[in-house]
Structures are given as C-alpha cells and as structure tokens.
C-alpha cells in the first residue's frame, strides 16, 4: 500500500503532538511500513478510516499502539549491534525507496565473517520489519565465515537466552520458538539466509561474490595485517554494486588503506559507500 505525502504528514504531525517526536521525511518509508502493519492489525481498509480511529479519543488506544510500533526500533536489535539501528533508519529506508522507484526489487546483502549467525538473522528480521510490500522483493542474505564449526551453529539457528537478551518480546515471539532453555529461529527469518564457508583473503572465492547492495564486515579486519586488509577491502569493494554500502565496526577506519569509498556520517557512526 502506498501513502501520499499528505497522509504521512498528517501521521507525523499527530505523533509529534502526542510525543514531541519529529519523524524526518527521510524516514517516511519506515513510517509507512509501520502504518500498513497497524492498519492490517486493526482491520481498517482505508487510510481515512484508520486516521479517524487515531483521532477518535484523546489520546486513542490505537495512537498509542502506532507510537509504540514506530519507537520500538530503539530496541530492535541485539545490544552488540547498535549500528544496525542506524542502518535500518538512515540507510536502508531511503535506499529501498530509490530501488522501488526504479522498479528494482532485488536486494542482496552479505554478512562477511558471520560467525554463529546472529548478524545475518538480525538483518533478516530487520528487513522483514522495514519492508513495505515484502512479497515484491527478492531478498538474499549471504552469510560467510572461514570457520565451519560456527557455520554449523548458525545453520542450526539455536540460541541461548543470553543471545537474545535485548530482543523485544514482540520479535522474540514472532521470529523464534522456545525449545527448553533455548530459542530456535523460525523459517520466516531463516529462509532469507544462506550460509557458506569463505576465507576473506581467498581471491578466487571472494571474486565469486558479486552485486551486493550491503556488505557487513564488522570487527574482523582488525585481525589482518595492512597488506591483507587492503586486499580484503578491495575484494569487498568489487563485490558491491555502485552506491552499495560497506559497514565496518564502529571504530574501524579505512583512511589509511584506501580513498575509494565515499564516507557518510549517519548519526554517530560512519559508513562507506561505493561511488557510482
């Protein structure tokens, strides 16, 4: 469902009056997805019906629900991945909008050095939550690691309570099922993710990775020497689509390695974009 600029503006204004929170226009995509979800849950067919419901009481229960759903992203993510929030809000939404406008509904993401899979599954969850009209999109999340043992763990998708400590209940219930003390990821999140073994400095293997919109390679380059790091970064560069993004660890830096990426500041972290 598509909402007009005016409609979204009305919603933004309501939220602002209620909470003092101003949703920037660049987050329209995100707001639209939350709106569509709330309309579905409240079984309203048209925007006007939904809007009337929102303003019926002061404040209405539905407005509370809507507000909760747009602010819950504050704690979407595992505490270890605070950047992913910035990714979802500031990068993913506008990026998807541009793609949708160009009628390109393909999205490819690579979690390089995925370890036991939390990052890859988190990305899968984020995408499902942020995407409006999910069915139109062809999403691939490739996740690789050099270590086959951690990959096995990732494929099993079974996680301890500790792994999920910052997961809001809503998502826990939606994407996991409990099995004794553990939590098992459900197929709705699992199905988008494909694991494979890959060594980051293996040129042949790396060159087979192509056309990614986003690559996550966080806190792993620090283990390489300068030359290897340079090599891996050039291979990641090649694997990206023009205007695709590379995400490194919060404190990681490419300044001494290459000037080939465009730096963007998003909130408090930097990300690297491949030029056109």
């Amino acid at each position: 469902m598509l909402f007009s600029v005016d409609q979204l503006e009305k919603i933004r204004s309501l939220i602002y009056k209620q909470t003092g929170m101003l949703f920037e226009e660049k987050k329209n995509y995100f707001l639209a997805s939350r709106l569509e979800e709330r309309m579905r849950v409240s079984r309203t067919d048209s925007f006007n019906d939904y809007y009337r419901m929102l303003i019926f009481d002061h404040p209405s229960a539905e407005l509370k629900h809507l507000i909760e759903s747009v602010t819950i992203n504050e704690t979407y993510f595992f505490r270890d991945f605070p950047q992913l929030q910035g990714f979802a809000e500031s990068v993913l939404a506008p990026y998807l909008e541009k793609k949708a406008a160009a009628r390109d509904f393909n999205l490819r993401i690579w979690s390089a050095a995925c370890s036991t899979g939390e990052e890859a599954y988190t990305l899968s969850i984020i995408l499902q939550e942020v995407l409006v009209d999910r069915e139109r999109w062809q999403i691939t999340i490739d996740a690789s690691d050099i270590d086959t043992k951690v990959l096995e763990h990732a494929e099993r998708g079974v996680y301890s309570e500790r792994s999920l400590q910052d997961m809001p209940d809503v998502y826990r219930k939606k994407y996991f099922r409990q099995e004794g003390q553990n939590w098992v990821i459900l197929s709705s999140a699992r199905q988008l993710v494909h694991f494979r073994q890959l060594n980051l400095i293996d040129r042949m293997g790396m060159r087979s990775m192509r056309s990614y919109d986003f690559i996550f390679c966080r806190n792993v380059l620090i283990y390489f020497d300068d030359d290897s790091r340079r090599r891996v970064v050039s291979l990641l560069y090649d694997a990206l689509l023009p205007h695709g993004y590379l995400f490194l660890g919060h404190a990681e830096s490419l300044g001494r390695i290459t000037a080939s990426f465009e730096l963007q500041k998003l909130g408090s972290f930097l990300c690297h974009r491949k030029p056109a």
Binding site: Y237, S260, P275
Partner: protein, 231 residues
C-alpha cells in the same frame, strides 16, 4: 606457466585494463601486480590516471610489485611531470623500491636544479632498506653536502636521510646546522635520536636546552627520552 601462456594471460589482462567496466579494470590491475611482468609497466602507468579511485589505487599497488630498473627509470622520469598525481604516484612507487632506485638517484636527480626533485630523491633514498655497508657509505657521502643546501626543505630532507643511514661520522655536520631555523634544529635533534652509538646520545645531552626555542626543546626532551627507551 610457460612463456606463451604467460603472454596470452598478459594480453588478456591488458585488454581488461582498458575495459569500460571499472571492476574489470581494477581486477586486471591487481592481477598484473601479481604477475609482475615488466611489459605491464607502461599500461599500469596509464591506469594511474584512471577516473576511478579504486583502479588508480590498484595500479599503484601493482606497479610497486614491478621491482625492476626499468620501472625506476620510468618513475624517475615522472618526478618532473606536470601532473601532481603522477608525480606523487611515482614518488610512492619509488619509495617501495627505494634500494633499487638509489643508485640512479644518487647519480643525477639528487643534484637536480629543481629543489623539488632533490627533495623527492632524498625522500626516496630515506626509505631504502637492507643496504650493504658500501651502499650506505655512498649514500652518506653523496647526501652529506645537501645538509647545507640553500633550500631549507631539501636540507631538512637530507638530515632525515642521514638520520636513517648515517653513523657517528656525520654528527659534526649535523650539529653545525643547529644554527639554522627551528625547523632544521628539530630535524637535527631527531636525527641524533636515531643515529646509533654513544657519541650521538652524548651530543644530545650536550645541547643546552635553554638556548633552544620551545618547540625545539620539546623535540630535545623527546629525543633524549627515546634514546633512554631504546637503551
């Protein structure tokens, strides 16, 4: 791989180096670096001006792997290029094969009428590693007079070279430049921190800090500290 196969592979890479696709060009440059065949040098030099940064960087790294006299000759020619990016690239490539480039630099560019070229030469010579005693001696002998160069930046660069390759024999030449501007004083002091041997350490402690400008004093303190740490 026999020579025919190698030539065929090279030709394919040369073709890709001029492809319209930037990824092809970048990968070709990278692969040429691995092959490190002299014949690739002129083409890689062209790629130093590729519109895409990633390709330029790959070409630069590839050239660094072509450690041959011919590469040095071509890069030295670029040092007087009008193009600043080419000059800088040449400098960087030569620094990566400094030992190879040294003899050529000592024979000519070091005495260039252009202060820039003299300075570039010194910056490259400074990077030379794994030198024999004879090579080192030659460097010190040829570079020492440039400590008195009329261009202060060249003089400073010469001091840095002597810090790297010199021994106790050049200490007096260095100390003589303490009468120069603060910029040179700091270079002299830092050089004395690096030159091996007791005499260099002693000459540091004999410098009267009170006669120095504040910035030079900071350098002196650090130099003395670093010698203590190294001891």
């Amino acid at each position: 791989m026999n020579t025919d196969e190698k030539t065929a592979q090279l030709e394919e890479l040369f073709r890709l180096l001029t492809s319209l696709d930037a990824t092809d060009r970048r990968m070709a440059a990278e692969d040429l670096g691995i092959l490190a065949d002299k014949r690739a040098v002129p083409l890689l030099m062209h790629s130093l001006l590729d519109p895409v940064i990633a390709v330029r960087e790959a070409a630069l790294i590839a050239l660094k792997q072509h450690v041959f006299p011919e590469t040095c000759v071509r890069m030295i020619e670029l040092l007087i290029s009008e193009s600043v990016p080419l000059r800088n690239a040449a400098l960087e490539v030569l620094q990566a094969m400094a030992a190879e480039a040294c003899p050529m630099l000592l024979a000519g560019p070091l005495y260039s009428l252009s202060a820039d070229v003299r300075k570039f030469s010194l910056d490259i010579i400074r990077q030379a590693a794994n030198l024999s005693d004879a090579e080192r001696k030659l460097i010190v002998e040829r570079v020492r007079p440039l400590v008195e160069d009329s261009d202060l930046n060249v003089a400073a660069a010469a001091i840095e070279v002597l810090a790297q390759h010199g021994d106790e024999g050049i200490i007096d030449s260095l100390l003589a430049r303490l009468d120069g501007p603060i910029w040179l004083q700091c270079h002299v002091i830092q050089a004395l921190a690096h030159i091996p041997g007791k005499r260099a350490a002693e000459s540091l402690t004999r410098i009267d800090g009170e006669t120095l400008a504040p910035v030079a004093k900071v350098f002196l303190t650090e130099a003395i500290e670093s010698r203590k740490r190294a001891a």
